[in-house]
């Protein structure tokens, strides 16, 4: 890049945005696979049985629910007492 910086190229900028989004998806899949593996997987058998598969599906859905619930609740507490951000930075 001859001194003009990557942001000068709109095509590259678009590419980086898309790839970053894909990477956030991938990263969360890695993370949830690890978390749900601990919750759902007993001894690895010759096949992924249907009960385990249902557990994985539920685990992903509830993990996302939990993440959204926590985000919403934090937002609410922050709104009701404005001192929240101060107590965080202490």
């Amino acid at each position: 890049m001859e001194g003009q910086g990557a942001t000068a190229d709109p095509q590259l900028q678009h590419f980086i945005e898309i790839e970053s989004q894909k990477q956030r998806f991938q990263q969360l899949v890695h993370q949830m696979t690890e978390v749900c593996w601990e919750k759902c997987m007993d001894k690895p058998g010759p096949k992924l049985d249907s009960r385990t598969e249902v557990c994985f599906v539920n685990c992903v859905e509830r993990f996302i629910d939990t993440s959204q619930f926590i985000l919403n609740r934090l937002e609410q507490t922050q709104r009701s007492k404005g001192s929240f951000s101060e107590s965080m930075s202490d």
């Binding site: 890049m1 590419f15 790839e19 969360l28 899949v29 890695h30 696979t33 593996w37 599906v57």
Partner: protein, 79 residues
């Protein structure tokens, strides 16, 4: 270096990083599942367990990916 060369290289690096991430997590999980007490060698039953564990980890990864993807699509449709 032109833009398409950079994009190609970035794509390759991302793919390598993802493979490493998967390899590392899979190794952790399957070591934990299959190696009770580390012995003098990786014995036959341990190797069988690891092989099966790898396949199940991939199944799990794909199930998680599919579920997350359909969840995202559902939420996008609701907006």
């Amino acid at each position: 270096m032109d833009t398409s060369t950079i994009m190609e290289q970035v794509k390759v690096q991302i793919a390598v990083a993802n493979a490493q991430e998967l390899l590392q997590r899979m190794t952790d999980k399957c070591f934990k599942k299959c190696i009770g007490k580390p012995g003098g060698t990786l014995d036959n039953s341990e190797q069988k367990c690891i092989a099966m564990c790898m396949d199940r980890y991939m199944d799990a990864w794909n199930t998680v990916s599919r579920t997350y993807n359909s969840r995202l699509q559902r939420e996008r449709a609701r907006m």
